[in-house]
């Protein structure tokens, strides 16, 4: 099996090189701080942490995205296509049947000119690489939800709070409910909001968070209490959007009709239509694709546009063979002042081999 995986890894790399990608290598040990800043403390549950006295905490790379984006953003190349291959490491705290180390072969496209074409190129490259395997693809588009939230008739503070929790669906819905007036305000909170002077406590000021910061938040809470709730109509539209799922063509029609009452998503729907066309033009049978508006929200936290995954058909419980998507915002976060639209995907050659063997 190891030989077969190595051969498959090479074959996949060749496919991506043929699609115009330049091979890259990346460090296995990454600075923990970069990943912690990006993903928060949760990453500690998913990545192996190690340390030395000089550099402090380091992490075994949980994927290639961060080092590849960092490397690319130091260059000024536009457009650029890369491929890479190597092991990634995933700490498992709750499921000892899941792999802690496996190979990924990736393909990334940095191209600001035509996002629909880049999206389609990456999807097609992955689809070609998996040719002949019993797999089906699911697609989604987080740009729709981001656009819907940004277009809500409410304060920027509320929108920012919702956008911050896009990738935590449970929390997102709780916030949406609260901003829609569906959560009763506690007595304690009512007292705080009706107090003329800031409430004082016996213990006085303590810790780094200053009295000024506390008063700033109380002022924000008071202002929010005066803000009318997000309308039932708008909350309903977000829920309607999130519930869309089905064959891509039908889902697209539903989104087009939703956009007539929800103009904020019109541009994102146009993007989706342009991508559908680009996929069709490259020979993808888009009739066979399945669309889910919520796809990628729990497992792919840096994706903010097109997202997709390829799944083995007829095999239960196998993780996705390939996953990918667009991560424009991540390039801005890691780009030290620069940003560049980017889309990419990875394949797991071990799963490809396993699937071939089972066939």
């Amino acid at each position: 099996m190891p030989n077969a995986i190595a051969r498959e890894t090479q074959r996949l790399s060749d496919v991506f090189v043929a699609a115009g990608a330049v091979p890259l290598t990346a460090d296995i040990l990454l600075r923990a701080e970069t990943l912690l800043d990006l993903y928060g403390e949760d990453i500690r549950g998913r990545a192996y942490v190690t340390a030395d006295p000089l550099r402090g905490e380091m992490m075994l790379r949980p994927d290639f995205t961060v080092p590849v984006v960092q490397m690319h953003m130091k260059t000024q190349v536009d457009p650029a296509r890369y491929t890479y291959a190597g092991p990634v490491f995933r700490r498992q705290e709750n499921d000892d049947s899941r792999a802690i180390e496996f190979t990924q072969v990736g393909f990334e496209v940095f191209d600001g000119a035509n996002t629909a074409a880049s999206d389609a190129d990456v999807f097609v490259a992955i689809s070609h690489a998996l040719d002949g395997l019993p797999a089906r693809a699911s697609v989604g588009d987080l740009g729709l939800l981001l656009a819907a939230v940004s277009g809500l008739q409410t304060t920027d503070v509320r929108k920012a709070a919702l956008l911050r929790h896009i990738w935590r669906p449970h929390k997102f819905l709780a916030l949406l409910k609260r901003f829609g007036g569906g959560t009763p305000v506690s007595e304690k909170r009512k007292r705080l909001l009706s107090a003329k002077e800031p409430l004082l406590t016996a213990s006085g000021d303590m810790g780094l968070r200053s009295q000024q910061e506390i008063e700033k938040r109380i002022a924000a809470l008071k202002k929010d209490a005066q803000t009318p709730p997000i309308s039932t109509k708008e909350v309903g539209q977000i829920e309607e959007l999130l519930a869309i799922g089905g064959p891509l063509i039908e889902a697209t029609d539903e989104l087009v009709s939703l956009a007539t009452t929800m103009p904020a998503i019109a541009k994102a729907v146009d993007q989706l239509k342009a991508r559908n066309q680009a996929l069709s033009a490259r020979g993808v049978d888009i009739e066979s694709l399945y669309f889910e508006a919520s796809y990628g929200r729990t497992t792919m936290e840096y994706y903010d546009g097109f997202v997709f995954g390829f799944y083995a058909t007829g095999t239960n419980g196998l993780p996705p063979l390939a996953t990918g998507g667009r991560y424009d915002a991540l390039t801005a976060q890691l780009g030290q002042g620069r940003e560049q639209p980017a889309v990419g995907a990875v394949i797991r050659p071990d799963l490809v081999c396993q699937l071939r063997e089972e066939q």
Partner: protein
């Protein structure tokens, strides 16, 4: 021999000894008072091993002891998928303590985890680093905060005097064990309304019976009978 691990000092040891004594098993340290081994009278085939309460979960998992008394918080913190590695035999009704999240009392705008999350976002923007929560229960706290949608925080390790970290400005909030909440209040902190992570108490655990010898299983049956625990027949396998 069935090895029974018991906390090696303090009230937890005394109360454990008393709990077993009430049920007809007398425990005593063997030899000098400094020795960490002992005997159990009133039942044959059970050996007493005195250990630090925090080591008992690991020893149970490794199969070096078959039974152990420790806090349910420690088992959940130290063992991933704890309920597939060890099983609860009996709650002993003492050693109660809550693992909670607490913030300064001066944070009059913070009552809940939602508030904490909102403050964490603002704190990061204002200070340039993630809000620090001091704890020694890293895994339990991280999972709890994740499940409750709290982001933009970091855990800083604190193995003792955790309640003092906020005053000392090495953390903005804490997650720690408290039984009465007095130390928390005395240090100018308050517990969040929904900040209870786990209500812990001293609990008798056992390891995986499938790894035991025939003899150990026999002794365990007798042990259960004498403690009046029969009827709580464990599922096979674990």
């Amino acid at each position: 021999m069935l090895k029974l691990g018991v906390p090696s000092k303090g009230r937890l040891m005394d109360k454990t000894f008393a709990w077993f004594a009430e049920r007809g098993m007398t425990m005593r340290k063997s030899g000098s008072d400094r020795e960490y081994a002992g005997a159990v009278d009133g039942i044959d085939g059970v050996e007493l091993v005195l250990l630090s309460a925090s080591e008992i979960p690991r020893e149970l998992e490794a199969g070096r002891i078959q039974l152990g008394v420790t806090g349910s918080d420690l088992v959940r913190e130290k063992l991933a998928l704890w309920d597939t590695r060890v099983a609860e035999v009996a709650k002993l009704g003492f050693g109660g303590a809550d693992l909670i999240v607490a913030v300064p009392q001066s944070w009059v705008d913070v009552d809940t985890l939602d508030d904490l999350d909102a403050v964490a976002a603002a704190f990061r923007a204002d200070h340039g680093f993630r809000l620090r929560i001091a704890t020694k229960y890293h895994r339990l706290v991280r999972e709890f905060l994740r499940d409750n949608g709290v982001a933009d925080y970091q855990l800083v390790d604190s193995q003792g005097a955790t309640e003092g970290t906020v005053k000392n400005e090495t953390a903005e909030a804490i997650a720690d064990i408290t039984s009465t909440g007095e130390t928390i209040r005395a240090n100018g902190l308050k517990i969040l309304d929904d900040g209870l992570i786990h209500a812990s108490q001293a609990t008798l655990f056992r390891g995986q019976i499938s790894h035991w010898t025939e003899q150990q299983r026999k002794v365990y049956k007798q042990f259960e009978r004498q403690l009046g625990l029969t009827g709580s027949e464990p599922p096979a396998g674990v």
